[in-house]
Symmetry: C2
Subunit: 464 residues, 2 copies
């Protein structure tokens, strides 16, 4: 079975059945996504009516492809999918991605029948089917973009895996990851889940070396207990965060989308908590929490110290801590005394700490800021530290100093940064921070909310 | 008085008192911000110890500047500010921006005394003082960046005004505006509010022709009734949205920041609602709601139609509507009948409408999508429309068609789009949509939340 999933998620050769040479068609976009994504394996477009697309020779059928084929992307009309699947079986292909829609999600009898037919063929031949009605999958570590969206070629390598029920949500999350410079280990859109479901994807990711945290988008599944069981086993080793859109009006819409009942939000939340999976409330929070989980271990407690280079965002950070149930740490007497001495007024010895306002904002102040950050990271009354900075070129040396903190000693507890980068200015420092395992968010609200997710994860897995 | 505010917000000549030629100093950044921001007026750096900075001649004092000076940016040590202010008075300068910190916000007696001294001088001379302890102001329509942040030179012209108590929050919001392509009419950081307060800024913006919506960041003011009175007068003509960070722990931090008591969140929210000002819960929502307000009038009711090119984000849009109290519209029988005919199954005649799933996703489907958008915009059972699209190059013709809809007829009710742009791809279509008055947001959650703010505004101002 592992081999079949390797064929799906890490293939060495891919066929595109239904490849078109018309740039206005989805079936052309599939070839474009594969060829321009840096995939090092063989790509075999298949279509009896054309001979070339994007410089590649096109084969009239799957069976005449000369070499071995690990996986096929299928993008032919719905009523032809079954016969293509039979061809794939004869060729010995172990896994397929069926992008074609028009199956169970239509809510029609004929749609359900078409899906049942293809599942029967696939199960008989032992073929793993991602989809139908799927965006496909993106595996940045092997340069594989097996979707119909060439824009996903820009997803960068990283350690967050994304498993989505919806292809549109998967594409949206990947675009967000591109814009936020979040690296992805593997992204999968499950679609109608013919015979590859959440449990299969999570099971594969458990052993996937590049994945350090798993983000799930769930609309509703036929077998929630199966999902919870797998998730419960994996979540203690690899953190999992899940986003299920809330709302009683959604059952109908979710059914018509990927052919499953949505189920109540409350039931899912409770089951996720039981399994050690953190629930979140929107798509942005999903990736932000996954990033915090991929970068840092959960803190031992929930007492947060806030440091900020500008007072106003520090106040917003405090407010956001309250909103997400994170208490502000009371510094130890030793730390307060030292802060009072450094600031020459007791006003600035309390949490949140206004670094520039209390301790100067010249280049000479950086040494004080460094000492304060170290003091707070070492304070036994503090479990996690949020540092808020709005981009200014004069602060860059301080940021670079943080990026050079030794990971083993200085960063024994979570340190999470907010730093914005207008028009991409300052991306280098952010990249250095993240190379050093410090997650950076573009707003202080997002930074604190991500930390809150990490704290919830620590709480969920610490229960007996 | 108007003249004095014109000197402050729309000066023709600006002095920078305390200008430095060392690029590692804030006082150099002030000159850099002014000179590189495209300001067409005269700039006069002042410092007795240097003769040139960034190619500009430096004057030894304010009084020896040959021409008239409308406004002075002051960035000298705190204990020298008063004497500089006296010089400004003798020179006949009507307004100053005091960037220097170290006044009332320190919480010390000497800080309070220094501030009282400068207020006395300013009031006697009739000088309007922005600050002290302020970021300054940015007026993109005149290319004026009177702050210490050269990164704010990239703020583009638009119709949203920003008035912040905190300079750090102001800078953060402006960086966000840059990244989200949100145009700004004027941005002001009030700081310690020596004698320019929220009421003054809002009063000026009421008559400011480029401003169509006003976003406030409030930590707490000494005279909330004064603020509410001005806001209540203006809000019916120009929509106002306010963000006050919530939290009982904040009073201390806000005091030490800009020298005022924070006051309770609940009291402010109630007073804002009474004044017709919409309250929001975070900084991102503040700008998103202001943008919706600047682009479109509030809808007559709250019934929302959701159209989406990908089903999953459509479901998230429905969920977000529920979260913000917006009911999904029930289409009129005429519209449902037509939708059923177009989709050939009743499944897709309900709200939310899955455009690609229900009506095809080829280029030929675009005509159907267009008809459906028109049907829904014309349906008397719909008050506002949210269209969710995840970027795909094949959809661009549909998006461009929307951007060309006649504003007077087709857009009689709010139409709000979600469209992302990975790595900036597709910014052209977004710019065209926004030129046509259709606000675009990068996520469907943000689009719906912004619409919810616009709906609240309509509700608040429709009360007798």
């Amino acid at each position: 079975m592992t081999d079949k999933f390797t064929s799906l998620f890490h293939p060495h050769s891919v066929a595109v059945v239904g490849a078109s040479d018309s740039p206005l068609k989805i079936s052309y976009c599939c070839v474009e996504s594969l060829t321009r994504g840096g995939f090092a394996g063989r790509i075999y477009p298949v279509n009896p009516s054309i001979s070339e697309v994007l410089g590649l020779a096109v084969y009239p059928s799957v069976e005449v492809i000369p070499g071995e084929v690990d996986m096929a992307v299928i993008v032919v009309p719905a009523d032809v999918v079954s016969s293509v699947l039979e061809e794939c079986a004869r060729k010995g292909i172990g896994a397929v991605v069926i992008i074609t829609a028009g199956f169970k999600e239509l809510g029609t009898e004929s749609g359900a029948r078409l899906q049942n037919d293809l599942v029967a063929i696939a199960d008989r031949a032992g073929i793993k089917v991602l989809g139908p009605n799927t965006l496909g999958l993106v595996s940045p570590h092997v340069g594989l973009n097996a979707t119909f969206m060439p824009s996903l070629n820009n997803v960068s390598c990283g350690s967050v895996a994304i498993v989505c029920q919806s292809g549109g949500v998967c594409a949206f999350l990947l675009h967000s990851a591109i814009n936020d410079n979040l690296g992805v280990s593997l992204a999968v859109s499950l679609g109608n889940r013919a015979n590859v479901d959440f449990g299969d994807a999570i099971g594969y990711l458990d052993a996937h070396p590049q994945t350090r945290a798993i983000a799930l988008h769930v609309e509703g599944v036929d077998n929630p207990l199966g999902l919870m069981e797998v998730a419960g086993n994996v979540a203690r080793r690899k953190p999992i965060v899940a986003y299920k859109p809330k709302g009683s009006l959604l059952d109908q819409a979710a059914y018509s989308h990927t052919g499953s009942l949505a189920g109540s939000y409350q039931a899912y939340s409770a089951a996720f908590a039981q399994a050690g999976v953190v629930s979140v409330e929107d798509a942005c929070e999903l990736l932000d929490v996954a990033k915090a989980m991929a970068f840092q271990p959960p803190p031992r407690g929930n007492r947060v110290a806030i440091l900020s280079l500008q007072a106003g965002p520090g106040i917003i950070a405090s407010s956001t801590c309250q909103r997400y149930g994170l208490p502000l740490a009371h510094f130890s007497p030793r730390v307060r005394k030292r802060l009072t001495k450094l600031a020459q007024t007791p006003f600035f010895s309390r949490n949140p700490i206004d670094l520039a306002g209390g301790f100067g904002q010249s280049i000479d102040s950086h040494r004080k800021w460094q000492e304060i950050l170290r003091l707070v990271l070492d304070d036994e009354c503090v479990d996690a530290v949020v540092l808020s900075t709005v981009y200014h070129s004069l602060d860059v040396p301080f940021i670079e100093w943080i990026a050079s903190l030794p990971r083993d000693k200085g960063l024994a507890k979570p340190l999470i940064l907010c730093r914005d980068s207008p028009l991409g200015i300052g991306r280098e420092e952010i990249a250095k921070l993240e190379e050093n395992g410090i997650p950076v968010y573009p707003s202080v609200e997002r930074a604190v909310r991500a930390l809150a997710g990490l704290v919830r994860y620590g709480y969920l897995i610490s229960r007996p």
